[in-house]
Amino acid sequence: MSKLVAVYSDDRKLLEAADQLIAVKAPVEEVITPFVIEELLEKFHVKSNIPLLAFFYGLFGVTSVFAALYYTFVIDYPLNIGGKPNLSLTFPVLMFIGTVLITVLSTVVTFFVEAKMYPGKEPEFSYPGINDDKMVILIDKSKLTPNMESQLRDIFETTGAEKIDEYHQ
């Protein structure tokens, strides 16, 4: 698969290019940056479902820890500790900690699964400097209409791309 690669070293120029690419509805496959650029994510409407999932993990955590405490202390082995009730007000302490633990672990697993990351994985795309000081815009050439490539090259040139390159996978 062949890709058009525009390399920038200034994030403001990159953002200008992004504006113009969005205006011409260019098939932008990916923009890779060495640090997060919030404005870029907003422009491309990049969203994630992690916050919503984390909320459900939290709900699962709080109910499962309560169920475990209720089972052990009320159903399975009710102890008489000075006549105190078995369904104790001390439950929320462990419910809170257990919920945090379950939510943290599940959220992190979700992050790695959704981002398709695992130890030892080779990077899906590599280009000199993309984790250092270079930002690249990737365009899937197979999705370009006939005249579009030259139009995009113009955009890259006018917005001050440092280099326009081709990448073959």
Partner: protein
Amino acid sequence: MYKKEVRGELILGNKSYGDITRDILKSQEEKAPMWWWIAFAVFFVLMAVGLGYFVPLTIANGIGMWGNNNQVPWGWAIINFVWWIGIGHAGTAFSIFLLVFRQKWRTSINRAAEAMTVFAVLAAGLFPAIHVGRPWDEFFIFPYGPNSRGLWVNFNSPLLWDVFAIATYLTTSAIFWYIGMLPDFATVRDRSKGIKRKIFNALSFGWVGSMDKWRKFEDTLIILGGLAMPLVIAVHSIVSTDFSAGILPGWHETIFPPFFVVGAIFSGFSMVVTLMVLIRKAFKLQDYVTDDHFDAIARIITFVSLIMGSAYLIELFIAWYSANTYETYVFDENYLKGHYAIPYWLMLIFNAFLPQLFWFKKVRRNLTWIFWITIGVNIGMWLERYNIVVPPAAEDFLPANWFHYASTIVDKWVYLGTIGLFGVGVLLFIRFIPMMAMNELKQQAKRHTELEPTDVQYHAIKKLLEDE
């Protein structure tokens, strides 16, 4: 919102993104300096002797090797435990509180603070583990089911909450630290060859800074931060409940949970500052850890010190106001002018009075002053835990039982061993892991140049002016 005119520049020297990478990775790409080897050797010896000899000695012979006695069953072990846990709150206080409150000046310091958290909590966890006397029975703490013994663990006990709270805190802090490092591991991977590349390739999990990954990365970090923030309050409140659930005068206080949490943040911040002063000097990182950073931290330390001072006063006042003989005895006879007056007054000086020097701008911006005041706070916070743990237990309700506490050589060496563990951990961290979050620093560098026109804007403005 970060206001440059109020807080000052975050990164000095007009750094480019490439400069940031080079400056931060210099410590691991160049040969280790001599001081690093000397410091590593010293801490390694402490760790090897303390943990390699005196901990097995304790396990083999029992905790009779320590200074604990019937009257003072908790000695240095719990003092050190609470002290290390307090320092361990540095990462949360710095990194997570400031992340959630969007305080951008955290950027240069958060990575080191998180590293300290992990090593400090590891050091802390050792003490309860060996204090139980028979560590091989520790699996009984975990609720793996009643089948073998016929009963469950006591979920009502603050000591059991501690096991879960600290295990969860360690897990969350370590994960938060690691996830935050993924982009920087990828930077190191791209600059390395051979075995080093392989290691950092494994560590970076194949990271590529695509938009989707950045979105997920940011969301995951803020969620972990949001969850860890109340956790830090819970952890230290629970540690304090270990004491305040007891009936001893001097322990049985409702003020303990907030008092402990604030104290933990106090000692955590101070330890971070102490180490950042050293790191800045050693690696010449004054462009990244600026005087403005220290100024901001010193202001927080002053504020927290005032809270600590107020808490000490409230304790004294309530003891007097309660008119309870035993309570008054602890504070009036024992602390203020009795057997434990020296550690008590030293604690007041180090924690409540000395940090007040930070009201002076000159002190806040002088590294020598900052270093020694924060060292003082670290000592003061250790003494505070000593004052809580030992005096109330040594002289309780029945004078016939009174028995004073003296630590043994084993106590001291186990403590030194954990200092060795912490030192070795921190030294390995600054040598092998990017010690500042490069991706976040680059984000800050971007903010710096936001107001300058780009080339396209510049030419457009120039053309407009020419046309006119």
